[in-house]
Amino acid sequence: MEKTLTIRDLRISFQASGGTVRAVRGVDLDLYQGETLAIVGESGSGKSVTVKAIMGIVSSNQIVEGGTILYRCREKDEWTERDLLRLSRREMRRHINGTHIAMVFQDPMTSLDPTMTIGMQLMEGMIQHLHLSRALARRRAIELLELVGIPEAEKRMRNYPHQLSGGMRQRVVIAIALSCSPDILICDEPTTALDVTIQAKILELIQEIQRKTGISVIYITHDLGVVAKVADYVAVMYAGRIAEKGTVEDIFYDPRHPYTWGLLSSMPDISDESSERLYTIPGSPPSMVDLPAGDPFAPRNAYALEADFKAEPPMFQISQTHFAASWLLDERAPKVAMPDSLRRRIESMRGGERTDG
């Protein structure tokens, strides 16, 4: 399996009026060709900042403090590797954005230019990057609209965004993202703003496109149900760091980090007949300006040890694919198991799967 993206020790902060917001604090992530990496975590944990850094989209008060984002791709039959953080905005525009890495944003109601036709918004990237003639770009645009399931594609080309529903607009945004055949598609909560029924359809569309094109996907979501459906790998983010990462099986069947336990416990489960009250993680995420010493999750963590309030835990490796940053994994730590209710739930999930398959 070829690795296409390698993020190492990414650190990003913002200069804000209240002080320095340390939004991303040493993130390591890997993305393999044709696979889906899901990033989950509470609001403000740094998911969007991380993926925007991959796109080279920075705000004026942003400081990239360090790290590398290595991007590997085949170019003219040769593998090349580049550190995206070293490229200028102009180089990113010319060589990466749209053509190699494309992005779908959260709110389709606001992410299309209201003054430009759908067709033109689709064509402009292709005209710029692939140097297609207008006629050719138009033909390809219609094909793309058909690919993402927009009926009467030819007629829709002349429409403006306000003439389309939210679900249709998100399909258009996906078509735009795919227009220059990128290797990586980043979806930042692409369905959060949509109706539940449309959410499922958009999700299916992304999966179908992945099957057809073999594109690699980074999928940001709050919804663990979606993660279970689409992801190959999962990264759980908390306060600008990766709390735990691994394959879907690792995360759902063998979670090691108390924050992951909390997330899984708070996941509504329709197959769960027990009428247990839905769990919510107590407290709220810390301020990213004045982070407490130690693990920023410690104040909300029922299992917190004394060490947790003193130093942040390093990343412990559990298996080839599975990592977690919790002092509980230190050999000196007392043995603490996940909460019983969660264990029962996981067992029933596994049991269900065994009988299914």
């Binding site: 954005n97 749209g98 992005m103 606001t110 230019d113 209201p114 430009m116 306000h162 735009i176």
Partner: protein, 313 residues
């Protein structure tokens, strides 16, 4: 688009008719009759009234009035230049005023846009502060202050430009009036453009457009500017009003033979026929600007164009 424009034009025509109705009413409520000379006998007066159609019923008189006004026959001046047809009085003057007005709007809008965009792109830089200061000054002082300051320093002390308007040197004569009249538009447009550009640049659609990797020229010029222009176009109509009132004084200062100065003297000399004619011309100008603004609006913003088109079908 055609339907949208047609509708706008119709609205303008109706507005013109309403204005003419108001002017007609004003004309009729003026005290006395044009023939209230004591030497005129009742028979003579009746004859005169018959000659000028004043014996006809009001609706007929109104239609005649409409015909006359729309064909440019505004009657004659009584005081300023006795028995001079107002139409020829206006014809000589209107182009100067329009020229200065158009120059001022064009200059003010262009420089204002430029300043606003630069300020938005280089936020909190020296250029941004400079633009803010210029905007505050431009809005705070009425145009005649700039006119007088310029005519003193540039016209009188430095002698670079003619102090008073001269037909022989028309182009150079319009420079100072144009600049002083454009200050307000420039300041207003600059302020609007900055706010709008900042907002547009932070919008989701700019983020998406940026993530496509299109050139920064296209990003700014096509996606950014077009969206920022929508609210800016709105202020063009009030700016025109400001410009017309400003021109009354500025034309006096530079002795410009325009319709602004004509209106001022007509009011001073109580030449109400001329006053009404100039007011009519101003109304037509304003309605034309409104029409242009409306059409621009439709051209720039498809939501407006299509919504109004749908509503009219």
């Amino acid at each position: 688009m055609f339907k949208y424009v047609l509708k706008r034009v119709l609205i303008s025509v109706v507005t013109v008719l309403i204005i003419l109705a108001v002017l007609f009413t004003m004309l009729h409520s003026m005290p006395g009759s044009p023939f209230n000379d004591e030497k005129i006998t009742a028979v003579q007066r009746a004859n005169l009234e018959a000659k000028y159609g004043l014996d006809k019923p009001l609706p007929v008189q109104f239609v005649n009035y409409l015909k006359a006004m729309l064909s440019g026959d505004f009657g004659v001046s009584y005081v300023i230049q006795k028995n001079m047809p107002i139409a020829s009085l206006l014809r000589a003057r209107i182009m100067v005023s329009i020229r200065i007005g158009v120059q001022a709007v064009a200059l003010g809008t262009l420089i204002g846009l430029l300043m606003g965009i630069v300020a938005a792109m280089k936020r909190n830089s020296f250029l941004d502060t400079f633009a803010t200061v210029v905007s505050v000054i431009g809005v705070a002082f009425p145009s005649y202050v700039f006119a007088m300051a310029m005519s003193y320093f540039i016209g009188f002390r430095l002698g670079w430009l003619p102090l008073l308007y001269s037909t022989a040197d028309a182009a150079r004569s319009t420079v100072m009036p144009t600049i002083s009249l454009s200050m307000f538009s420039m300041a207003t447009v600059a302020r609007f453009a900055r706010t709008e550009m900042v907002e547009v640049m932070g919008s989701d659609y700019m983020l998406l457009a940026d993530s496509k990797g299109i050139s920064s020229f296209r990003l700014l010029g096509v996606h950014g500017l077009r969206n920022a222009l929508i609210p800016i176009v709105t202020v063009l109509a009030p700016l025109t009003v400001e410009l017309m009132t400003g021109s009354l004084v500025v034309e006096q200062i530079f002795a410009i033979p325009g319709i602004g100065s004509l209106l001022v003297s007509a009011i001073q000399f109580n030449d109400y026929n001329v006053v009404l004619a100039v007011v009519f011309v101003y109304s037509i100008m304003f309605i034309s600007v409104m029409l242009i603004v409306d059409i621009l609006y439709g051209v720039i913003d498809p939501r407006i164009r299509l919504a109004k088109e749908d509503a009219s079908t």
